[in-house]
Symmetry: C2
Subunit: 459 residues, 2 copies
């Protein structure tokens, strides 16, 4: 595999350039959920578009949407018979609070040990830059052996609200043989892996309204139902003592795990201690009757993501609050849908909220769970590429997180997505001190080179 | 009663001066819980001290404490045999959030209809100014007929943390026959009342700690117990379906209501609709087996005053938060104590918090419930004064709120406190659009004049 060898050598010689490029990208605070970062979102999109132009992409566009733009690029290879790969990524990042828990500023990329710390390092600017570096290495040596289409969105961290319409509008332009989704991780620095299933998401706000305005808890406590007490009770009873979610009909569409799949998941190098260490907890929690890996990747969940009511400043305000709010989200598994769990939640609130207060349910975002055929050609190419770089057979795993675009691409473009990216489970995604493991980043570049060659060769 | 008639006439002629004085006092944003209002606290104390000097008080001091100063004043009357009355009040006020719900700025006193709107109007600057106006009317006519001691603290709204030590240090100076506590209300513009019992208070923060730092709820949801879910469950189960508090031993020291007392409370003009209207709710809540008035004034409570966890900004952050916090407070009735209910709460947390998270309990403030002898001379003097002004017999009621100083004064000075003040139940205490009903304010001035005369005459 001469082509790969020359491109790999080029990549190895230019690792510091790749790192430099990643650091430049990470300095742009492209937080998609906060309106005050609008300009940074634009800068990040333009940065990625400029890189694609450098790489010889023919049609590079920063396409506006209702909120944040999509970066599109296209590059045709010499062989007309070559397959067409659509690469998906996102250039937006999560907010950074609590800021005071960061050891170095989130948008000043800082190397400590083998890691580069910055918001968006692992999720997922390093994956985009790794793929760009692989393309550069191929372009500068043997040539890029497949037709490339690249689509980078700026709304992944807020649930990709514009993407569905965008895919509908650009169906023809995005036609491809399959999608390579680079928003992914492996299991550990020495345990390469491919993800064949993703959990879906349904994210809600629940508001509970009580008295017209805040009341004195001394004068009215005892005779007026407190929205914060009521909300706590509603949330608290959504999960029972065995870790089972109590919303009516919630589990009805859940595909049971087959004994074969449970055996395969049990082979993953993820025992209880592995999960404890990565989560930073002394004891794990969750649903009875399932292993830690199953709980975290193959079973649905219900988490409170935010809670607010009353007075949360310093001191003791004796207020009976007029309202209380919770953000809650559920991770879904096949064949659950955001609509179905919303109905479960609605029914639960209707049955359990006392008539002394009023509730309101808002759905903020959601996406379907996804599963990919593990015997497909792209999966086999990726398996071969990972084995070439790591020298060991990769694991096949499910992923607990959600990638809404996977379901949308399957729906609208009619192709499956392969998840291949080089984050690690302890990268502090969405949390303070997010990082990218640099040796894994460099191996990622090599893997993408091997992968594109394997795809071109038809494995 | 010639003396009262002349003083009353003076008070009536000078109502606009009293109103002006109240407005000046209300313009000082003396919020005791927020460190940024330190200077305003000092200004409010100095304002009150200057008024006492104007009224001919001999010893006027602004005495520093660990946090906010106490204003002290003393005025000896001509008759050496006259009783000595200690008057208690507080010049500090509650915070103003949510600010956007105020119809006029909280520190720009604004008259709409018969009411004056401002933070601290009813609680309790109007009561202080009404008493000052009564003193002025007496001083300018017949003379003040009793020995006066005045003590105004600046920490009532944060639980009077310095007052215990202050009372201990100033025991001799504050010696008196009884205490007149002006931090009080009547039942309605046409229903004068005297309060014979107050609820106590115990205010806590509960913190629940989970993973070392915030986690991605997709990657770890299902396998890591979520502190916000756990806190919700803990809070939600503290009150059962019948509105009973479930903390072990919580009700053990509660004095049952006698049939006589229940009959007396039932005579109060406070039916369910009265409570609904004042609270601004369509349905009342609370403990089964008790009337609304009993629930609000004679039974203990547990209210969530503040809730915080995770991401509460705009949008959908998929975070599994590292911690969650609740502020909760309980209103206590005889013979509960803050220590006893803290032990109940501690035991509850110990028994119910799962070992997957860590909890911490902080007590912020607390005070004993109080009850006053309704056959004592000051109570009878107040009854007579109220009847003189309103022309009807006043009601005797319990109050749901807490006045920590009442228990402390009983403990340290050995005297009972009489609650006599002229707020109304719909004054929006501790809430946006706090107000003072001005006709009641003016009647309050008259009542204090009659009261001091009645006290001097030994009823």
């Amino acid at each position: 595999m001469q082509a790969a060898a020359r491109a790999i050598a080029y990549a190895h010689d230019h690792q510091s350039k790749s790192l430099q490029s990643l650091q430049d990208f990470l300095r742009i605070p492209s937080i998609s959920t906060l309106p005050e970062h609008e300009k940074d979102i634009q800068r990040a999109a333009q940065w990625a578009a400029d890189r694609l132009k450098d790489l010889g992409f023919e049609k590079v566009q920063v396409v506006p949407t209702a909120r944040h733009p999509v970066v599109l690029g296209q590059r045709t290879c010499d062989r007309p018979s070559a397959p067409t790969v659509l690469v998906y990524g996102h250039y937006d990042v999560q907010p950074v609070d609590p800021l005071d828990e960061w050891q170095s500023p989130p948008f000043e990329p800082t190397i400590r040990g083998e890691n580069l710390y910055a918001r968006g390092a692992s999720d997922m600017k390093a994956q985009i830059v790794a793929f760009f570096s692989a393309l550069e290495a191929l372009a500068q040596t043997e040539g890029i052996p497949v037709n490339m289409k690249i689509m980078l969105e700026g709304e992944e961290e807020i649930g990709s609200p514009s993407l569905q319409a965008f895919l509908q509008d650009h169906r023809q332009e995005l036609a491809c043989d399959f999608c390579l989704n680079t928003d992914a991780s492996i299991l550990g620095p020495d345990t390469p892996a491919l993800t064949y299933a993703l959990r879906g998401l349904a994210y809600f706000e629940i508001h509970v309204y009580g008295p017209r305005s805040d009341l004195h808890s001394g004068l009215f406590g005892g005779v007026v139902d407190n929205p914060a007490n009521v909300l706590s009770r509603l949330l608290g009873n959504m999960i029972d003592q065995n870790g089972r979610i109590t919303l009516p009909g919630f589990y009805d569409p859940v595909r049971p795990l087959s004994p074969e799949e449970r055996r395969a998941l049990a082979r993953l190098p993820q025992d209880e201690n592995w999960w404890k260490e990565r989560a930073g907890v002394e004891r794990l929690g969750g649903e009875e009757g399932y292993t830690s890996t199953e709980r975290a990747t193959a079973r649905p969940t219900l988490d409170v993501n935010g809670l607010y009511s009353g007075f949360i400043g310093q001191g003791s305000k004796t207020v009976l609050p007029a309202r209380a709010m919770a953000k809650i989200s559920m991770r879904l598994v096949p064949d659950q849908t955001p609509e179905q769990v919303k109905e479960s939640l609605r029914q639960y609130l209707e049955e359990n909220c006392p008539p002394t207060v009023r509730w309101e349910l808002k759905d903020l975002t959601g996406c379907l769970p996804g599963m990919i055929d593990i015997q497909s050609a792209p999966v086999l190419a990726a398996k071969r590429a990972l084995q070439s770089v790591w020298g060991v057979e990769p694991f096949f795993s499910r992923q607990g997180g959600s990638v809404p675009v996977v379901g949308m691409i399957q729906d609208l473009l009619g192709v499956q997505s392969l998840m291949l990216g080089f984050g690690l489970p302890d990268d502090n995604l969405h949390a303070p001190n997010e990082k990218q493991h640099l040796p894994t980043f460099y191996r990622g570049i090599d893997t993408y080179i091997h992968f594109l060659n394997a795809v071109a060769e038809g494995t």
